[in-house]
């Protein structure tokens, strides 16, 4: 009986996470358009619904009903499967992310994490990086030069940021001694001053930069940069297949925001009178806003600059950080 209960509970959690995060991702597109518009002295979507709130619905209808074009010379099975990889990986990564502190409903204690595995952070990082197969396969299968360039840049980007994000995470993990995100969160239970960002500011900075690269956000959006390679890997996609890439990107943004909040910013621990659930929502909102803010303000960098930044500057810094952490915690 107990086995069945846990299966049902997991399925319900998975469905809830899928639905809520997909909804958040869709809403994030609206927020992005609005915030970017205000920062650029525009109004953004205004006509569908009050202040354009229902623009999401209009976009959704458009994406679902648009003709699904597949280029004649594309490698069709891969072309068709590639967009599914992006959201699939993004949502799979969320399986090991604890979203909220545990709470009790009708005497039944719920831990809002689908699976508390003891290598949580490794799993999240690994699966989220596997999501890079989506642009890679999409670009290579669509027999289009822009798409191929986008795919090549995907590999460049993956090789660059993955080293930095892994090494940056290593030093907090060395201090905590556990890869489980719940343990990492509980390590910072002592309030504002126990947040890891105060002890690991450099690792925090490096991980945020790598997070921007991982989610293809603006300073590092070289795999689909319009001015250079039209739309990169997504040039040949239309309709909902293209939309799936988008859902994956925004779900990834939310995952990275959760990771940064849990590892460095005290996670879902309550602060003063603010309960933990609200705290983590505030933190990830702030991070999503940071993603949009940076997109409005900063130009994007070339692939060679990206590699230079990651390999020549950030990776040595991460190594120094690990060394210092090791010496201090010896």
């Amino acid at each position: 009986m107990g086995d069945y209960a846990i299966i049902i509970e997991t399925v319900i959690k998975a469905v809830v996470v899928l639905a809520v995060v997909a909804g958040m991702a869709a809403f994030a597109t609206f927020i992005e358009r609005k915030v970017l518009a205000f920062m650029q002295r525009r109004l953004g979507p205004m006509n569908v619904g009050p202040h354009g709130v229902l623009q999401l619905a209009a976009d959704g209808i458009k994406l679902f009903t648009k003709e699904d074009l597949i280029p004649q010379l594309a490698v069709k099975p891969i072309f068709k499967i590639a967009p599914v990889i992006a959201p699939a990986c993004a949502f799979t990564a969320m399986a090991a992310v604890p979203f909220f502190p545990q709470f009790t409903v009708f005497g039944y204690t719920i831990t809002p994490i689908i699976s508390d595995i003891n290598i949580g952070i490794l799993f999240v990082m690994g699966v989220a990086s596997a999501g890079m197969y989506a642009p890679l396969l999409a670009g290579m299968s669509s027999t289009n030069k822009w798409a191929l360039l986008g795919a090549a840049r995907t590999v460049v980007q993956l090789l660059s940021f993955e080293v930095v994000s892994g090494l940056a995470l290593l030093s907090p993990i060395m201090m905590i001694g556990s890869l489980s995100l719940i343990d990492i969160n509980d390590y910072q239970i002592g309030g504002f001053t126990s947040w890891l960002v105060w002890q690991q500011p450099l690792a925090f900075l490096l991980f945020v930069i790598a997070g921007f690269a991982e989610t293809n956000r603006t300073p590092f959006d070289l795999i689909e940069y319009e001015a250079e390679i039209v739309s990169g890997y997504a040039t040949d996609y239309s309709g909902m297949r293209w939309g799936l890439f988008f859902v994956g990107e925004y779900a990834n943004m939310i995952t990275v925001s959760f990771l940064v909040s849990i590892v460095f910013l005290g996670g879902y621990n309550p602060l003063w009178i603010i309960p933990g659930g609200i705290m983590i929502l505030l933190k990830i909102s702030a991070f999503i806003f940071l993603f949009l803010w940076v997109r409005a303000a900063w130009p994007h960098i070339r692939p060679d600059q990206m590699m230079q930044l990651c390999w020549k500057i950030l990776m040595p810094l991460a190594l120094i950080n690990i060394l210092l952490t090791g010496i201090v915690n010896i």
């Binding site: 915030v35 109004l43 205004m46 803010w293």
Partner: protein
């Protein structure tokens, strides 16, 4: 001017030279540049500027178009209008055909005949707006200020021939009688000091 003089000319007055930073040569200079750029905080200036614009009130530049419309300047060249004479209300167009001649995209066509008062009358006047490039020559050449450019830029229609027929462009008589035809200040109109340019025809020869 010989080529030597030409290439030696001094462009200094009026030019402001920008002291760009020197391209580093040695690896130590490269390191210094990278370091100074890293701590300069220019990126945060950018962040601050967009944030300031986000919270500044009422500085949006958007015109929510169907509800609000920009007022076009008087010299804007949109769909043409044919005007009537202020006093009598008859058409200003005398059928001289200058606009038809000058039109560089050959889109104006007019047919004229002699009416019962043995005056020249324009029986048909059409502009093919599929070809018109809105150069404004017709309005400029018109001796009677009959054809002018209006400011009505919303010219989507179901028919290709819309807006281009004489009855579309000519001021309707009802509007004219209601005094709605405005003397046109825009393209092809006389300037306010036009009278001062009028000269006596030289008869010396």
């Amino acid at each position: 001017m010989s080529l030597e003089q030409f290439s030696k000319r001094d462009a200094t007055p009026g030019y402001i030279y920008y002291n760009a930073e020197k391209t580093p040569k040695t690896s130590w200079e490269f390191f210094k540049r990278a370091f100074s750029r890293s701590i300069k905080g220019e990126l945060f200036v950018g962040l601050w500027i967009v944030l300031r614009e986000m919270f500044a009130k009422g500085n949006t530049h958007t015109v929510s178009y169907p509800q609000e419309k920009l007022e076009m300047g008087p010299r804007y060249r949109a769909i043409h209008k044919l005007l009537r004479l202020q006093e009598s209300g008859s058409e200003r167009c005398i059928g001289c055909g200058l606009c038809e001649k000058i039109c560089i995209s050959n889109c104006i066509r007019m047919e004229t005949k002699i009416d019962e008062n043995s005056r020249k009358e324009v029986s048909q006047y059409t502009i093919n707006f599929g070809r018109c490039i809105f150069c404004g020559y017709c309005a400029e050449v018109c001796p009677e200020l009959a054809i002018v450019h209006g400011s009505d830029y919303e010219n989507a229609s179901e028919q290709r021939s819309s807006f281009g027929l004489k009855e579309d462009m000519l001021t309707p008589l009802d509007d004219f009688k209601a005094n709605k035809q405005q003397e046109f200040p825009g393209f092809g109109a006389l300037s306010p000091d036009a009278d001062s340019f009028v000269k006596k025809t030289p008869l010396a020869y």
